[in-house]
């Protein structure tokens, strides 16, 4: 069975097949070892060729002007050295057991070092016709679905050099497919743990058919001195409802690149929660594309860089159809020389009349050594629209801290409450109670530390 391989997969030690490109040969060897369908090896090979032909971001590229990748050599990481096979819950690390038990979920997949280690709850979903499985398995069992959606139309392979590399190198990946008018009551949970010094390419593909409803939590952990280059694709057929939560809590030394994009057809409803806690550097592209009338999308983000963390979100609200609504709110707190960048764009095409599109970015600076850049943008080609954007930056004022301290709160308690209060506008729209609780704990940890 696929999950029970125990080969050593070290990118550098696999002998080259034809000697010209060891990295390519290694990724193909890994694909084979994972038991993927043969078509996927061709797919990966082509993507690799595309990646090699694509330019590295240049300093004049607007998207990369404020976030430099100096010191990043993407080929200088290792790849899931050993496939340890599947284990029972008791063999999971305490951290992963904690993550698993903290949340109430319909089903959970746990990946370690790029491969699935544990899963639970999947059988009951299958009875409802819901697919929730690792991508490598899906390349054999759902080839048609993947050929249609996997990096073809939502985040195409050649979006940029990182997506092309992702297409060639993806490892921990999940296919979620919810059939017509089917509703998954509890969240589907994906937990991804990445070991030290590794490159990880996490992929989540959600396809919600007409009238389907699903909530997905994507939990990213680990990657000490590693690289995570993820792609999230969400396809929403008419009238579907998706709640997607991306909880990035990587090690503070990780490089983190992300491309996330959702396509909403008529009357589709999306709420995307983007949480950026960890990593040394994050550059995340998040795009909403409203392709059919009546679509409704909320994109809510929180980030809290501390120390020397650098967190960059770049969002696009693309309205291509009339009568759609999109609301974006990104709130960030910064502490101890941290740096954040927010770049937002609302684009409304000529046919997208009666668009409501809102965008807000708030930054709370816990001390004066931090810096938050906020660059909003509007590109409106329709005339009957309501679009607003706003950016605010505020210091945690002594007056607030003093007021709370005069009521007996210690300084850390006062700061914690102020920051939690600042995040509240996002937290109160997080659809899963246990996630809210978890986020509050991280905020506490970040302030304490």
């Amino acid at each position: 069975m696929l999950d029970d391989h125990t080969q050593v997969l070290d990118g550098t030690s696999v002998p080259a097949v034809n000697g010209t490109d060891p990295a390519r040969d290694a990724l193909l060897a890994r694909s084979e070892a994972r038991g993927e369908g043969a078509w996927m090896r061709r797919f990966r090979e082509q993507a690799w060729a595309a990646a090699k032909a694509m330019p590295w971001p240049s300093l004049t590229d607007e998207a990369w002007r404020r976030t430099r990748l100096t010191g990043l050599d993407p080929d200088n990481f290792s790849y899931s050295p050993t496939h340890k096979g599947r284990v029972g819950e008791e063999a999971l690390s305490p951290l992963l057991q904690g993550e698993l038990n903290e949340m109430e979920s319909a089903a959970t997949l746990i990946f370690e070092d790029g491969l699935m280690r544990y899963r639970t709850g999947v059988a009951a979903l299958e009875e409802q016709g819901i697919i929730f499985k690792p991508l490598d398995l899906a390349t054999r069992e759902h080839e048609e679905l993947l050929r249609e959606y996997f990096m073809t139309r939502v985040v195409p392979v050649e979006t940029d050099v990182f997506t092309a590399r992702h297409a060639a190198l993806w490892d921990s990946g999940t296919l979620i497919h919810v059939p017509r008018n089917t509703r998954v009551e509890l969240p589907l949970q994906i937990i991804n743990w990445q070991g030290e010094g590794q490159a990880g390419h996490h992929h989540t593909l959600v396809v919600a058919e007409e009238g389907a409803e699903v909530t997905v939590m994507d939990d990213l952990l680990g990657a000490r001195r590693g690289l995570q280059n993820s792609v999230i694709e969400i396809v929403q057929e008419p009238g579907s409802q998706v709640r997607y939560m991306h909880l990035q809590d990587l090690d503070m030394s990780a490089w983190n690149l992300m491309h996330g994009r959702a396509h909403l057809e008529r009357d589709a409803d999306l709420r995307w929660i983007q949480v950026s806690w960890g990593s040394m550097l994050t550059k995340a592209f998040l795009d909403l594309v409203l392709r059919g009338p009546g679509g409704h999308a909320d994109l809510l983000g929180i980030y809290f860089p501390t120390g020397r963390q650098h967190i960059d979100h770049q969002t696009l609200q693309l309205h291509e159809a009339p009568h759609c609504f999109s609301d974006l709110l990104f709130n960030g707190a910064l502490k101890d020389r941290a740096r954040s960048v927010y770049m937002g764009s609302i684009r409304v095409t000529p046919e997208a009349q009666q668009t409501d599109a809102f965008q807000r970015n708030g930054n709370l600076l816990l001390d004066s050594s931090t810096r938050a850049d906020s660059i909003p943008g509007l590109e409106i080609e329709a005339n009957d629209v309501r679009c607003t954007h706003a950016a605010t930056a505020a210091q945690v004022e002594d007056e607030y801290v003093f007021y709370l301290m005069a009521r007996g709160l210690s300084r850390p308690q006062a700061e914690r409450l102020i920051v939690q209060g600042f995040f509240q506008a996002v937290l109160e729209r997080v659809p899963v109670e246990s996630v809210v609780h978890k986020l509050e704990q991280v905020i506490e940890r970040k302030i304490g530390g």
Partner: protein
């Protein structure tokens, strides 16, 4: 005997001397009213007692039961039993009154020491917080007693509160924190007569034998509802006259210009 003694206090802010030798002693069971013009330094005195970091004490001392509190942080002063009701309470978005007060009350009552009781009370063992049920019960009762609508527990602290609602919430917090000495900085200002009565009523309920009050005010009006033991006139950063309730009436009659004629023009800009 328990007392809060302010002894020849001098303080400055932003390089400007504001307090110029204030001496006053608060004792349990006594209400000391302090009246003065805008800009005379009343709020400065209140802030210095509470430990505002922007104000620097240049001379004199503040002694609680004989011990100086000048080196204490604002939260330590609060925990020691000193409470300041702000003239202008700040609003804290996203922080609910209940959430904030539970932390405050737990700290002030030293809930860590009672952690072993938590399980009996239905709380979390080892948690530093007062058990939720116990806290809720008490808050609900006090909100009723001090005429704060129960919906305010969930509202964000002072956010969108009217002037009267802010002042009533300050009194509610005082009731929850049970301080020994309270400094009330213009808890009456900006209130219509009904709101004023509610606030005065709350203060009277709390003015028991074991508590002392410094009632800072600009107008004599609140003294129709709260009977002070002493009235002092504050002028140009110090107390220029102290007497019984008759001082307030005299001031009401003659106006602040009379103070200026008696004690010289203020050097501080109003």
């Amino acid at each position: 005997m328990s007392q809060l003694e302010i002894r020849d206090l001098h303080a400055r802010v932003e390089g400007q001397d504001i307090l110029r030798g204030v001496s006053i002693t608060l004792r349990p069971g006594e209400i000391h009213a302090m009246m003065g013009r805008n800009g005379s330094g009343k709020s400065t005195l209140a802030y210095v007692i509470a430990g505002h970091p922007h104000y620097e004490v240049t001379e004199g001392d503040i002694l609680l039961d004989g011990e100086s509190i000048l080196e204490m942080e604002p939260n330590e002063r609060c925990q020691a039993g000193i409470f300041l009701a702000f003239q202008y309470p700040v609003s804290v978005p996203g922080v609910s009154v209940a959430n904030f007060l539970r932390t405050a009350v737990s700290n002030v009552r030293g809930f860590t020491k009672e952690a072993h009781l938590a399980s009996q009370e239905g709380g979390v063992v080892g948690s530093h917080l007062m058990p939720m049920r116990k806290f809720r019960r008490e808050l609900t009762a006090k909100m009723k007693e001090f005429q704060v609508d129960s919906s305010f527990a969930r509202r964000y602290l002072n956010e969108g509160f009217s002037g009267g609602e802010k002042k009533r919430t300050e009194v509610l917090q005082m009731a929850m924190l049970e301080p020994r000495f309270s400094i009330l900085d213009e808890s009456d200002s900006g209130l219509d007569i009904d709101a004023l009565k509610v606030v005065a009523d709350g203060i009277n309920k709390l003015a028991t034998e074991d508590r002392g009050f410094l009632l800072i005010t600009h107008y004599q009006r609140i003294l129709n509802y709260i009977k002070p033991d002493y009235v002092s006139i504050f002028h140009d950063g110090r107390i220029v006259m102290t007497g019984g309730p008759e001082v307030a009436l005299e001031l009401e009659e003659k106006g602040y210009n009379w103070v200026e004629e008696q004690f010289g023009p203020a050097e501080l800009a109003a």
